[in-house]
Amino acid sequence: MAALQEKKTCSQRMEEFRHYCWNPDTGQMLGRTLSKWVWISLYYVAFYVVMSGLFALAIYTLMWTIDPYTPDYQDQLKSPGVTLRPDVYGERGLQIFYNVSDNTSWKDLTQTLHTFLSAYSPEAQEENINCSSGQYFIQKEFHAPNHTKFSCKFTADMLQNCSGLTDHNFGFEEGKPCFIIKMNRIVNFLPSNNNTAPRVDCTFLEKDHKDFKPLEVDYYPSNGTFSLHYFPYYGKKAQPHYSNPLVAAKFLNIPKNKEVIIVCKIIAENVSFDNPHDPYEGKVEFKLKIQK
């Protein structure tokens, strides 16, 4: 019993630990001799190499089962998200505040738009074809070069007054700013089943702005629609040069020196904007404050 009740002092423990780290009698370090350490390390190296190989094999098999053109499942992508340009985020969501008379306060905003639209220059869209059908551009076969499918051109000039070509400042200077609304790409997604093009609809958030006059908006392209020939999207591999169609909204009657909340919804049969969890599904909401 005495043997079990032994209480060790601190120095004894330290001594034991030192002995454990290096035992001169048996030549053991940390409980093993050098050669034993080598053996066990070799075993672990071998074990992990085999395990990594196995894992690589599993991943390889996984990739082999996956269709390169279309994802197997789109469980989360039933309805596309919507984003806004320029996109400046505050504490809670998008928030675009600027002062008309202080051009440094909106320079960055217009710069963002220019950068964004640079992907829509004619040069950037060179590989794409001109479309004007306004119908779904269904392509079963890979007729485009390099075994791809065709994508329709969308160039900045289609945004007319909001293209940045005529008005370099996108109306920010005059307090009638342009915002570009983009719908997220989803492979094989059709916005509606009956050839109605999806349309952007921007309003003041009703509950906050009952006393305001309704928001006046100029949409470009006209009616604020995304032409159907940009749909469906066939994925990066089939349409490497695809670019999202855009809609620009120019707000004409934003009250000055006042924070307003504007919501832009996509009106389309297959786009929902009432998911309580996802604020960016089918709509985009943003705060706007224009000072003078």
């Binding site: 019993m1 395990m51 994802p71 989360q76 998200g81 997220n184």
Partner: protein, 930 residues
């Protein structure tokens, strides 16, 4: 059978760890019971106490005693003197045990071992919430809930363990009940009854049959006084007490009576020589309590396990904390991450699982009449390597029983089983008729009335053990003894006494034509034989010549050698002419012949082994448990019982046996040759601890006889010093624990280095690979191929990116990504769950293949597996998936992604076990066997 048998064996585990002293309770407490109750003496005192008592009062004469204690044996102490001594020595009572208060016991359950880690986790969770809350009032309550869950786990398991323990301890009778209350004392020359607590050294006390002896007393005068020392020694055989100094050892001498023992019959006067804690029982109480300060093995193991788990948890937590901080996570988030990892690494369920399985085992043991006082004791029994067992009542039935008969020059065997219903010896001989008559008539024991419906063996008898045995023996064979006695009316009787060493009675015969009186006598065989001139053979009286006397001697020696108590029986029909009907028999003057009797036969008695004991001993042996017998009984009896139950096996010899066989002195025998040893208490007294160790190591079969209670403790400690040279070996575990070697306390850890490494670095890695495979599968099939995921985290977690591109060019909002992430988590969890099934199955054995073990022997495991799957299903599908835990519903195929990995785990473990079996002692065995 003055004792009623209690059906419950209590296993003392608080006190003696490796040693299981089972003992049959008889309503009174044995000294072991003290261990729990008295726990206050300091270590150094123990050493002193362990030495044999240096008491010499038994050697002193009455006069010397009077001088020593300043008393007078006629007048007693004066009241004033007594009061003085009382003030000086304190009351004659055992110091009350320091009871741990219930609150403390409860709190101990609450904070002991694992609980503390869980508490720490809970508190950390709350702190984390506090920090979050101070920053953001709308912080989620997840951490609070986790903390509450952790706390509840601790509290419930604590309450459960406390309840279990409280329930068991309640059953144990209180020690204080065995202390006498009143004492008849002579003070100031007059007798008076005083509370026993007020006795002081030097008091003259009187005791009579039925009293408990109120203090340690030196007997000054005695009239047929017999005491039952079972509360002290465990041996319930009555011992006579007189004023003669008969033995050097105060525990053996007849002129000392001990506190708390019972006076069975007769009266005695004695002088108090020790009171309170200074009495023998008081010393034993404190001595025994000193043994019980050890942690139970399971407690040590769990502590060890907690150390390992805590070490791993904290180090992994810290590593990930550092990683998180260097990945520019905010510090608070990293701290929560740290807590999460620590909490996740702590097996919260273990405590509950251990408690539940221990109490289930305890319940099962209770069904087999084994009461477990302390839950942790259950595991302790599993690592038992030596059992020191008491003889009387534990190995034996605790009642004298007729074992052999000798008549007509032949030894017959009697049935000694518990019910004795198969007496097979030859009962046709006329000698047996005579012998049975003597047995029936020359016996003062009687059945207590009103027990007609009770089986004979269970009837309560008034009388001593031997007479009880004879009474029941004749009742079983011949039926109504009391009726027979009535028909053979008793006219005179001399009861047994130690000077005569015989018992005699004279009866009328039941035959109305036979007017002779029958004188029957029984007693010590040699004394009976002296009184005989003839011997009955086949019903005929023959002269007792040399050859018959020699035959008697042989039989006597043989039965004596079996450790049995032998009684001789003889009779004489008194001639009608000399002893007519009206003859006045006078037992004082003995006006009747007591010589030239006719010797009829011998009966030998023994306390026979319980019929289940030999099997139990064999089982213990085969499990590698050493069984040692410790008894206060005579060595020959002890050895005989040990042989009959297999504690000394049939073919092993003691040193003495070898000496006898080779016909050489004991000193010349090589002690190593003897497998068995019988050690006498007197020898043990002379032994140094080293010598005792030698005995314990060198002999596999050991019997300690004539031991005093102190020596029992010395033996127990000697055993505890031994580190058994056995390791865990081949298993068929799970179903029959008895096939498993006892666990080696120091070497076979519950969790050893190999197990930790194998769990964390082999199976753990495999499991996480399998789980990540499921994780990657989910992402890949939903659009994010593994290549895309790498270095994606900062963008992925950015709330301001709502058009993140996947491998197919699709764009995802933050919420869509988040939900995908939850699917990933759920798939990861399910994959772990699936692999845990494999993990559980491979851990069924350590060495044997699962094919050898069989998958379906343990059905409960499958219940566990199925319920695990059901829980996972509920978490994933139930209640529309539990949002707080971020579980989502999963596509069916994701449940099976990890199955190949589960198979890999199982195959790898089979390979491990195969190589261990193939190459024992190899590098593989040493590193991979846990």
């Amino acid at each position: 059978m003055g004792k009623k048998k209690s059906e419950v064996y209590s296993v003392e585990v608080n006190g003696i760890k490796d040693i299981e002293t089972t003992d049959e309770g008889d309503g009174k407490e044995k000294y072991r019971g003290l261990k729990n109750h008295l726990g206050y003496k300091k270590e150094h005192q123990k050493e002193e106490l362990k030495k044999e008592l240096d008491l010499d009062d038994h050697k002193l004469s009455t006069k010397e005693l009077e001088d020593k204690y300043g008393t007078n044996i006629i007048q007693g102490l004066t009241s004033t003197k007594a009061a003085e001594i009382l003030a000086q020595d304190g009351p004659n009572a055992l110091s009350p045990p320091k009871e741990t208060s219930e609150i403390i016991k409860f709190l101990k359950q609450m904070v002991g071992g694992f609980s503390i880690l869980l508490w720490a986790g809970a508190v950390l969770c709350w702190i984390a919430y506090g920090i979050q809350f101070s920053k953001d009032k709308s912080a989620s309550l997840d951490n609070v809930f986790l903390g509450v869950v952790l706390a509840l786990v601790v509290i419930f398991t604590g309450i459960f363990a406390y309840y279990q323990e409280a329930k068991s301890t309640n059953i144990i009778a209180s020690f204080s009940k065995m202390i006498p209350r009143q004492a008849l004392v002579i003070r100031d020359g007059e007798k008076r009854e005083i509370p026993a607590e007020q006795l002081v050294v030097g008091d003259i006390v009187e005791i009579k049959g039925g009293d408990q002896i109120p203090a340690d007393i030196r007997i000054l005068a005695s009239h047929g006084c017999k005491v039952d020392n079972s509360s002290l020694t465990g041996e319930s055989e009555p011992q006579s007490r007189s004023c003669d100094f008969t033995h050097e050892n105060p525990l053996e001498t007849k002129n000392i009576g001990f506190y708390s023992t019972t006076c069975l019959e007769g009266t005695a006067t004695g002088m108090v020589i020790n009171t309170g804690d200074r009495t023998i029982i008081g010393r034993i109480a404190s001595l025994a309590s000193g043994v019980g300060n050890e942690k139970t093995p399971i407690a040590i193991e769990i502590e060890h396990f907690v150390h390992i788990v805590a070490g791993v948890a904290v180090s992994i937590g810290v590593i990930f904390f550092i990683i998180a901080v260097s990945m520019k996570y905010p510090v608070l988030e990293s701290v929560i991450f740290l807590i999460g990892i620590i909490v996740a690494n702590v097996p919260e369920g273990l405590l509950a699982a251990v408690t539940v399985s221990l109490s289930l085992t305890a319940k099962r043991m209770a069904k087999k009449n084994c009461l477990v006082k302390n839950l942790e004791a259950v595991e302790t029994l599993g690592s038992t390597s030596i059992i020191c067992s008491d003889k009387t009542g534990t190995l034996t039935q605790n009642r004298m029983t007729v074992a052999h008969l000798w008549f007509d020059n032949q030894i017959y065997q009697a049935d000694t089983s518990e019910d004795q219903n198969a007496q097979i010896f030859d009962q046709s001989s006329a000698t047996w008729a005579s012998l049975s008559k003597i047995v029936t008539l020359c016996n003062r024991a009687e059945f207590r009335p009103g027990q007609e419906s009770v089986p004979i063996m269970k009837k309560i008898v008034v009388g001593d053990a031997s007479e009880t045995a004879l009474l029941k023996f004749s009742e079983v064979i011949m039926g109504d003894v009391m009726e027979r006695r009535k028909r053979n009316r008793k006219v005179a009787e001399i009861p047994f006494n130690s000077t005569n060493k015989f018992q005699l009675s004279i009866h009328e015969t039941e035959d109305p034509d036979d007017k002779r009186f029958l004188l029957v006598m029984k007693g010590a065989p040699e004394r009976i034989l002296e009184k005989c001139s003839t011997i009955m053979i086949h019903g005929q009286e023959q002269p007792l010549d040399e050859s018959t006397a020699a035959a008697f001697q042989t039989a006597y020696m043989e039965l004596g050698g079996l450790g049995e108590r032998v009684l001789g029986f003889c009779h004489l029909y008194l001639p009608e002419d000399e002893f007519p009907d009206t003859y006045p028999f006078d037992v004082e003057t003995m006006n009747f012949p007591t010589s030239d009797l006719c010797f009829v036969g011998l009966l030998s008695l023994i306390d026979p082994p319980r019929s289940t004991v030999p099997d139990a001993v064999t089982k213990c042996r085969s499990a590698g448990i050493k069984v040692i017998m410790v008894t206060g009984d005579h060595p020959i009896t002890a050895k005989a019982i040990a042989r009959s139950v297999g504690i000394i096996s049939a073919n092993s010899e003691t040193v003495e046996d070898i000496a006898k066989r080779l016909n050489v002195p004991v000193e010349q025998v090589n002690k190593r040759e003897a497998k068995a040893a019988v050690v006498n208490g007197m020898e043990l007294k002379e032994m140094s601890p080293e010598q005792l160790d030698e005995v314990l190591i060198n002999h596999t079969e050991i019997v300690f006889a004539r031991t005093s209670p102190q020596q029992k403790l010395i033996i127990v400690e000697g055993c505890q010093r031994q580190i058994p040279s056995i390791a865990l070996a081949y298993e068929k575990a799970e179903s029959d624990i008895m096939n498993r070697k006892p666990r080696h306390k120091k070497k076979d850890r519950l969790v050893n280095q190999q197990l930790a490494l194998y769990s964390y670095l082999h199976i753990g890695i495999l499991q996480s690979l399998g789980a990540f495979l499921a994780y990657f599968t989910v992402y890949a099939e939903q659009g994010f191929k593994p290549a895309r995921l790498i270095f994606l985290r900062s963008e992925w977690e950015d709330d301001n990116i709502n058009d993140l591109e996947d491998s197919y060019g699709q764009e995802w909002t933050r919420y869509q990504r988040k939900y995908l992430e939850w699917i990933g988590y759920t798939a990861f969890f399910v994959a772990i769950m699936v692999q845990q099934i494999a993990d559980l199955i491979i851990r069924k054995t350590r060495r044997n293949s699962i094919f050898q073990q069989g998958l379906f022997r343990n059905k409960v495991v499958w219940v566990g597996i199925v319920s695990q799957i059901i829980i996972a299903l509920i978490l994933s599908f139930g209640f529309g998936s539990i949002a707080a835990l971020n579980f989502t519903t999963l596509r069916v195929q994701y449940w099976f992604v990890a199955v190949p990995y589960a198979i890999v785990i199982w195959l790898y473990d089979e390979l491990r076990k195969l190589l261990i079996r193939r190459y024992p002692g190899s590098w593989w065995d040493k590193n991979m066997y846990y």
